[in-house]
Symmetry: C2
Subunit: 365 residues, 2 copies
């Protein structure tokens, strides 16, 4: 089974399968394993400093010479926030942490400095990154031009047709259609309110019809059958996240992995309590407590900073009650195997999915 289409040629990969960038989960080892297997590993660096970005990129390069993507956050940081709301959330989290025996180091609002993709773009250029993916928005025209002039392929994220059209008009090479099933942050950037939550089955064909670029389907793509379903929708490739959540190379600790594997689809809820941006993850005590506090969440990345110390403590101690456990609606299918084995199984299943249809339907007389 040989795959050859616009996605495989543009991204210079053997199979049109992108491993989704999962900040806090994805390691350089995961990225390298997927790229070595013939897909496109994605290194998430959203919000990191230039030095951290360079270090992670070099870690991947030490493990593979195959192409991989680096994933940026293309948001803008609000110039000002409601100081009273910041203090109220901080006070709530301080007492929540105390009651739950969590070491909490509250951020000082005046001291907060946030990295954006502007801090990282020179690193990406000097490291000659072949594919640059982004979410939460669109990089500025000059940055798009610079990256493209230096030969980088750009992959943007859309959660509705309107966003896909904006990306198309900016000459982004490949567009990821992120269906409502997807875990982690919604890539939404055209609305401040509730994000569009359009299922993959509806979103992918509509974006394919509307734009000129090849489309990657994301959201619910967990095995070869769902991959081939996405191809039937007109996608030319897929982005797979949750299926790699508990792989050997994932940095999730043990209890976290256990919780993911035992989640029902309804456990993966939409929240902005952790980061200030809408994201899908397994509901837990911290998520509920912030919701029940009745306090307004701060805009991203302020809310993210406010909860960071609790979530980091939980990650270190493997406390699922207080950790961020982003997960899609098919996350319970994830298995604890090397990423390469997960990848190879998916490719095999894609082929046999044709036989599945032939079992149920006689397609040709």
């Amino acid at each position: 089974m040989k795959w050859h289409n616009k996605v495989t040629s543009l991204l210079n990969i053997t199979y049109p399968v992108v491993q989704a960038p999962m900040l806090g989960i994805t390691t350089p080892e995961m990225v390298a394993a997927v790229s070595e297997a013939g897909g496109l590993g994605s290194l998430p660096v959203g919000g990191l400093s230039a030095d951290q970005t360079r270090e992670l990129i070099r870690a991947v390069k030490s493990l593979t010479s195959k192409p991989f993507a680096v994933n940026l956050f293309a948001h803008s940081v609000p110039s000002s926030i409601d100081a009273a709301a910041f203090t109220a959330m901080q006070e709530f989290l301080t007492s929540f942490a105390a009651v739950n025996d969590i070491t909490y180091v509250p951020p000082v609002q005046e001291m907060l400095r946030f990295h954006t993709y502007h801090d990282q773009i020179d690193i990406l250029l000097s490291e000659q990154i072949p594919s640059v993916s982004f979410t939460f928005g669109i990089p500025e025209d000059e940055h798009i031009a610079t990256l493209k002039n230096r030969g980088a392929r750009l992959i943007g994220t859309a959660t509705c047709v309107e966003e896909a059209l904006l990306l198309d008009n900016k000459f982004v090479d490949v567009i990821t259609a992120q269906g409502a099933e997807a875990g982690g942050h919604r890539g939404t950037f055209i609305t401040e309110g509730n994000p569009p939550m359009i299922g993959t089955m509806s979103l992918v064909p509509q974006i394919v019809d509307a734009i000129r670029r090849p489309v990657l389907a994301a959201g619910g793509i967990a095995d070869g059958g769902t991959m081939m379903a996405a191809m039937m929708l007109g996608a030319q490739g897929v982005q797979v996240g949750s299926a790699f959540l508990v792989c050997n190379e994932s940095s999730a600790p043990n209890a976290h992995k256990h919780r993911i594997q035992n989640a029902s689809s309804s456990d993966a809820v939409l929240t902005k309590n952790f980061s200030g941006r809408w994201a899908r993850g397994i509901e837990n005590k911290l998520m509920r407590a912030i919701g029940e506090s009745g306090l307004a969440t701060l805009p991203y990345p302020y809310q993210q900073s406010l909860t960071a110390s609790i979530r980091s403590f939980a990650q270190q101690k493997d406390l699922t009650d207080f950790a961020t456990m982003w997960a899609g609606q098919s996350a319970s299918k994830a298995v604890r195997k090397p990423a390469a084995a997960i990848f190879q199984l998916l490719i095999q299943q894609a082929q046999t999915s044709f036989e599945l249809i032939e079992r149920h339907v006689q397609v040709k007389e």
Copy 2:
């Protein structure tokens, strides 16, 4: 292209395509046209009297001798409701109607009598209905046994794996997996709170894996490509609703049809403001006003009765601001053609979807 699987044999149809029952939209003409084309038309009768049910069934029979399904609501009516909440909603709707020049005939709480499927089951038996589908719950064991003993095939609706397992254990013949993309009422019956909103891409494979019965995929199935995608997910058939919303046989008036065809996916929102049960439809003035009133909606079917007169007035005058416009996330793909032509195109597209994949991928070397 010959289709033959458990769904086509159990339901005695040529193609594994069920037209979704859409109360207020589906006419006997639509049901007959789909059954004549080789699919399974579905006549919605939820909440109707025995006489109305018989009359509609006979209208279908006068148009086709092919098998069709009759669709029941298997809910239970709350034994009591909050009288003050009922009055508050009624007063709100009375003034809303007055301001908007709508003739509103408020229901009198004490006079309300609701039909349930118990009133209809004898008609279904005497009319020898070949397939009985249901939503909002599971009929009682004795009714399941009676229907099955008389040769009827049962089709139940599940919105999560847990509901599918309950249906499986009751020996329901076919299970419709209703993904979050679907228009109209959610079939959810195991939870009182927010319904599980699991996308078709995640829900269908999980239900297929969990149960022994053949599965129909619903939600986002709007053409041949989405149909074949559903088959890739392990479904043995599909249920198609929105694609028939604006067909010639639809009872939707003109402006209503126009609004559906010009909807974006994000316009079809989840609400319980119209009926008291969660359903997906195009947002309009009535839906927003009830939401903004801050009043609690009454449980189904009380809220349904309270808003009925406004919605019926809107339907007659073709006022999209006040009508119920249930629609799925792919409803804008719907076209104004005879149902038979829509059906035949879908079947043709399903076949050519294989060629689409071959265009993008060389499946075999």
